[in-house]
């Protein structure tokens, strides 16, 4: 298994980060959707705690991921993809990277402005970013909620695009992100 990317293929580190974060993001988004609709209770509290811990973990992974991307070549899309679609894909991925940071940071601001303690999975105590303020809480909540729908929409487009390439164009783009068996590797 190749760890680093080449101009042709994704390395195992980039693939692992992609799927690990995909799992975490879908988990955090599902939790978020469920927990905000629960009445105030200890269960709601518990779900918030997991959601926040997951979010802070994803923030760290996002920093790792963008650093790794800068340190590695990005595999080029095949020529069969028309230039305007390549540009579109490029922009979609840029927005994804912005969201990878904007989602957890806006959530972190909500928690800070509410002056709630933040303890990541009961292991790391994280300090608050901003002073207690209901106005900041409300503004950050609006941002976090709006970005949620942008994120959800973009994930749908991303998955639909990957499946379109796999089943309609059969150009191997989806398979590039899947784990490869070492025997098959060239």
């Amino acid at each position: 298994m190749r760890i680093r990317n080449t101009t042709q293929v994704w390395g195992s580190a980039a693939k692992s980060l992609h799927w690990l974060m995909a799992l975490g993001i879908v988990g955090a988004m599902t939790l978020g959707l469920v927990m905000v609709n629960l009445p105030m209770s200890a269960l709601k509290f518990e779900l918030y705690a997991i959601h926040k811990s997951l979010g802070m973990t994803l923030l760290v992974l996002a920093a790792l991921r963008i650093s790794w991307r800068w340190m590695n070549p990005v595999p080029a899309l095949p020529d069969s993809v028309p230039p305007h679609e390549q540009r579109l894909a490029g922009w979609a991925h840029r927005v994804f990277y912005v969201l990878l940071f904007a989602m957890p940071i806006s959530g972190y601001v909500i928690n800070s402005a509410a002056n709630f303690p933040l303890n990541v999975f009961g292991v790391v105590q994280v300090p608050n970013l901003v002073p207690e303020s209901e106005r900041i809480t409300d503004a950050a909540t609006w941002v976090h909620g709006s970005l949620f729908w942008l994120f959800a929409g973009l994930i749908v487009v991303h998955v639909a695009g990957a499946l379109r390439h796999h089943f309609i164009f059969k150009d191997g783009i989806l398979r590039r992100m899947l784990p490869t068996r070492s025997s098959k590797e060239t």
Binding site: A42, F45, A49, N115, F116, P117, L118, N119, E134
Partner: protein, 187 residues
């Protein structure tokens, strides 16, 4: 010389009643430390009053009777503070006052950090439990007193956080109460 017995009676009066003190509220703090989702936060009761009788020489005549306005609770988070008046927490519709009344004030022979111990009854939300408050009592050159003490209570003993909220992972059971009170001798 004829009125000397009368005078000495007047001087002796405060000693008979113990030494009374008045709390200087702006200089005093009745705070607590608790945990939420494993993280610590601090809060305080901004309004409280007390009948305080204390003399290191006459511990037997010393006595505290503290009344705390529960509705003056402040934890630095408006979201959290909105929950506290509710039925599961302090039930402030029904219980607005907490009390601490001592039954005995003695030397804290069992505590190396504090000189004295106030044994008494703490009443919160209608639940009365015996507690011991270890404390120090220091007199300044200007004759003021400063009382500092702390004790850990289990919030569930007093029904603070009922039902679902008894789960300690959401809000920890142990609450550290911190007393830091400035007092002036009462005339």
């Amino acid at each position: 010389m004829r009125f000397l017995p009368t005078l000495s009676f007047l001087v002796a009066m405060p000693a008979l009643a113990g030494n009374p003190w008045n709390i200087d509220l702006p200089e005093s703090r009745l705070a607590f430390e608790a945990t939420q989702q494993g993280g610590q936060f601090e809060g305080e009761f901004e309004q409280f009053s007390a009948d305080m009788q204390f003399s290191a020489e006459q511990l037997g005549d010393s006595h505290f009777n503290v009344r705390i306005d529960v509705t003056s609770i402040q934890t630095g988070s408006s979201q959290r503070d909105r929950e506290l008046p509710k039925q599961d927490w302090f039930a402030m519709d029904e219980f607005t006052e907490a009390r601490f009344e001592t039954t005995e004030i003695r030397e804290a022979t069992d505590n190396v950090n504090y000189a004295y111990a106030a044994e008494g009854t703490l009443t919160i939300k209608g639940h009365s439990e015996p507690v011991v408050l270890p404390f120090d009592w220091q007199i300044s050159d200007s004759g003021q007193a400063r009382m500092q003490g702390e004790l850990v209570i289990d919030r569930t003993t007093f029904g603070i956080g009922e039902g679902d909220w008894e789960d300690p992972s959401a809000v920890g059971h142990d609450v550290r109460v911190l007393v830091d009170v400035q007092l002036n001798p009462a005339d």
